[in-house]
Amino acid sequence: MSPLYAVLDAIKNADGPVSLSRLGRELDIEPDALQGMIDFWVRKGRLRMQGALPGSATGCGPAGCVSCPVDGPESCPVLLHMPRRYEVVGEQ
């Protein structure tokens, strides 16, 4: 199978979460190239990326953190920075 589809298939068929480096090793694709392929699938809407701060999703709500003086999640002092993750769209 060609590498681009192999990446998507490997994620679809993964039994539990897979790290990018392990996926690259399994498919014999350099990590950077794998990232490029994943970015392509994200652009095509077949994968969805979620980072530490996916837009308003982790944003402060209307109530905020009581008197939290910061404007939003980007400057929130208590948020932990999470790794990016990519999930298959339409598989849930």
Binding site: S2, A14, P17, K44, C60, G61, C68, L79, M82, Q92
Partner: protein, 766 residues
């Protein structure tokens, strides 16, 4: 200066011997970000550079001059891009320049160690048929990794010269200049007669058929045939590249070509069952993948980087979780032990000089002994001061967490927990909101929006408050230090783990009862390479987070402390004998309300009104638990022995005790090393070591047994969240689910505390 591949009227290539006219050439320097493109540019042009912006863009444009064999070459550094498409401003700038300026040569900078990704852009540029030279940069790094690249074979496969080089050291620079010179002087124009050189990438029968058909139409167009390579143009049209579609649409007489492209796309998609651009990209990646396998030889272990090898242990399904647990235990142990000296120092400053100065100031304006003095000293200093004392604890916690974050370990922890949850049958994606919950439940609740499935979202929202938020930490510390001394860190660690365990158990219970849902979508997660943490970044994170805590303490906690002080100041019993702000705490309104609730906590071992009142005020904000314990147990802000000191003596004392605290902290840190104990010859006083309010610590020691203290902290951990989290739950899930969460958590907390206390007693522990 140009020739066409099959035009017999075109003069032969100009060589330096045949003309001595100085002419200018344009060279474009293209490449991926971080491939050393700028280093090549600087190495070629030296100081002869001009920096500006691309027209209408904020993207930097660098231009430089170079003279080769008497010819002027102008080098243009294109923005770093991963492909030649119209997906970003950088890509559009690069593509527009190549198509409009049609440079005499394109130098494609490629990172030799990341050939597979870099060749994607390279193949797209080569397909434009512009004269190109591949600069295989950073060869030294690739060689150091044991990579061996067959450059002759690579050059033959791509149809362009390949120059191995190290721009940083100048290796290969002369060869690159020579190839640039040759390519510029032997430039070929795009072929218009159909004898296009061998195709670089074979896109498969169906796509190739459509490419050929579109080429036939494009060749008949008087502008297109001269402006673009027709094969490249056909590929771009089949990819529906918006930039190319706009360019072609802007020309007259291109309707037939555009219609044919649309029809071609439909036929490809009908035959192959996917988007035309995906199929083209897939074949391009296939070509690159095959090429890299052919030309790059790598040692067997190259795929396993140092990070990979570390990950084999740290993210191992069985080993990873214990390692994570030990790591977190160490963090809390270090936090509790190391921070205590600064806690002591802050407490000393607040209870000593600060209180003395304020009392003196109030006395000087005639407010001494009035309710105003009580408000400031007992309400504000007792409440806010009781919380501010824990700044060092939080600062050290945030410091160690930032250290783990910056090193790349926290990403592994997230990965581990994610996989663990998946294994338990919970939604793996829940880990983001739940991890956020360790900081504050409010963003954690809002982060549940990342879950598409409503049931998963609600379930995660209900679990988030079980994660021990930062505001609960001072409670564990003050109870831990008072009742467990040096083992306070273990209590803190145990509370964090208990929160996770209870959340998992509750999650499993709800998942298999109220919230049955489908399997989650499969996913892949990015693990950044491990690195030595940057001190600047770690300190910045620590500062930002600690600042947030201080701002919270000086705003909400201040208001809540005043409310609690008011309740403590209003006399209820023995009303006739005491006036406002002159009443003992046990005769106050707060005590009256709390006494009504307190019996409910009798089975858990802390059925006194002081504990009950702290739990009630804890609904406002969890930090209030410590403040209320401070106010109700000590009755007033702690004031150190009244010794006559001057302002300057106080200042000197503050400075000296700070130096002492720093020295003790350094010794405590070093004492964490195995076999090192720099306090071996000093008697340990748990109250002093606690550094907190000595009166409070002493009172807590008499009010709680170790068992009832654990039961109390378990209740604090599991009890209903603060009002802000409740508001977030109501906003996200409605009043019904918010009420469910509060009731459910109160029940779990009460059961947990009773179980700990009664169970402990049965086991003879209390």
């Amino acid at each position: 200066m140009t020739r066409r591949c099959c035009d017999i009227e075109t003069p032969p290539p100009i060589t330096l011997d045949e003309t001595h006219v100085r002419v200018g050439f344009h060279v474009a320097l293209a490449g991926n970000p971080n491939c050393g493109k700028t280093t090549i540019f600087n190495a070629l042009t030296g100081a002869r550079q001009h920096v500006g912006n691309w027209p209408g863009k904020t993207i930097e444009r660098k231009e430089g001059q170079i003279e080769l064999h008497g010819y002027d070459f102008t080098l243009v550094d294109l923005p770093g891009t991963y492909s030649l498409s119209a997906f970003s401003a950088e890509e559009i700038v690069a593509m527009d320049y190549l198509l409009d300026a049609r440079p005499d040569v394109v130098v494609i900078a490629v990172d030799a160690g990341n050939l597979e990704r870099n060749l994607y852009l390279a193949t797209q540029i080569i397909e434009t048929k512009l004269p190109a030279v591949l600069a295989l940069n950073m060869m030294d790094a690739a060689e150091a990794r044991g990579l061996s690249i067959d450059t002759a074979r690579l050059s033959a496969a791509l149809g362009v010269p390949v120059v191995p080089m190290v721009a940083r050291s100048g290796r290969g620079l002369e060869a690159l200049k020579a190839q640039m010179f040759d390519a510029a002087l032997n430039r070929e124009e795009p072929c218009t007669c159909g004898c296009t050189p061998e195709k670089l990438v074979d896109y498969g029968r169906e796509v190739e058929r459509e490419i050929a058909a579109l080429q036939d139409i494009a060749r008949t167009h008087p502008v297109l045939r001269h402006r673009y390579d027709t094969r490249w143009l056909a590929i771009k049209l089949l990819e529906s590249d918006p930039n190319i579609l706009a360019r072609v649409s802007a020309l007259d007489g291109t309707e037939a070509l555009l219609d044919a492209a649309q029809a071609g796309i439909r036929r490809i998609e009908a035959a192959l069952g996917d988007d035309s651009d995906i199929l083209i990209t897939d074949r391009r990646y296939g070509f690159i993948n095959g090429l890299v396998r052919e030309v790059v030889k790598r040692p067997p272990l190259d795929r396993h980087t140092r990070s990979d090898r570390i990950d084999q242990v740290l993210t191992h399904p069985l080993l990873g979780l214990p390692v994570f647990a030990v790591m977190m235990w160490l963090v809390f142990q270090m936090t509790a032990n190391v921070s205590s000296y600064y806690v002591d120092w802050i407490d000393g400053v607040i209870a000593g000089p600060l209180t003395r100065w304020t009392a003196a100031l109030l006395g000087s304006v005639g407010l001494g002994g009035t309710w105003v003095e009580s408000l400031v000293l007992d309400g504000v200093f007792g409440g806010v001061g009781g919380v501010l004392v824990f700044i060092p604890v939080l600062a050290f916690t945030y410091f160690f967490i930032a250290l783990l974050e910056d090193s790349g370990y926290m990403a592994r922890a997230a990965f581990l927990m994610d996989r663990f949850m998946h294994w338990l049958g919970l939604h793996g994606k829940s880990f983001i909101p739940m991890l956020l919950g360790f900081g504050c439940s409010v963003p954690g609740v809002y982060a549940t929006r990342t879950l598409e499935n409503e049931r998963d979202r609600l379930l995660t929202g209900l679990l988030v408050p079980f994660m021990s938020c930062g505001a609960r930490l001072p409670v564990y510390i003050v109870i831990g230090v008072a009742l467990f001394g040096a083992r306070a860190g273990t209590l803190v660690f145990a509370m964090y783990i208990l929160g996770i365990v209870v959340a998992i158990l509750v999650g499993l219970l709800l998942k298999h009862t109220l919230f049955r849902s489908d399997e989650e979508a499969p996913f892949v997660i990015e693990l950044p390479p491990y690195r030595v943490p940057s001190l600047k970044s770690v300190l910045l994170h620590t500062w930002e987070r600690t600042k947030g805590f201080v701002e919270h303490a000086t705003s909400v906690i201040l208001i809540a402390s005043i409310i609690v002080w008011l309740l403590v100041s209003i006399p209820v019993t023995a009303a006739g004998e005491a006036s406002f702000a002159q009443v003992d705490a046990e005769n106050s309104a707060l005590a009256a309300v709390s006494r009504w609730i307190a019996p409910a906590f009798e089975p858990a071992g802390f059925g006194n009104w002081q504990s009950a009142s702290s739990l009630v005020t804890g609904f406002i904000a969890k930090e209030m638990i410590v403040s209320t314990l401070n106010i109700t147990y000590t009755g007033e802000a702690e004031v150190e022995e009244d010794v006559a000191t001057t302002f300057w003596q106080d200042l000197g004392e503050i400075g000296l005790t700070f130096v002492q605290a720093t020295w003790d902290t350094i010794r405590a840190t070093l004492s964490l090393l195995p076999g090192v104990d720099l306090f071996a010859n000093e008697p340990v006083d748990p109250v002093e070591e606690a550094g907190g309010n000595a009166t409070l610590v002493a009172t807590l020691q008499s009010a709680f047994t170790p068992l009832s203290a654990v039961a109390f902290t378990v209740f604090v951990l599991l009890t209903a969240p603060c009002v802000t989290t409740m508001a977030a739950l109501r906003h996200e899930f409605g009043t019904k689910w918010m009420a469910f969460s509060v009731g459910f958590m109160l029940t779990i907390a009460w059961l947990g505390a009773v179980l700990v206390y009664q169970g402990g007693r049965l086991l003879g522990l209390g």
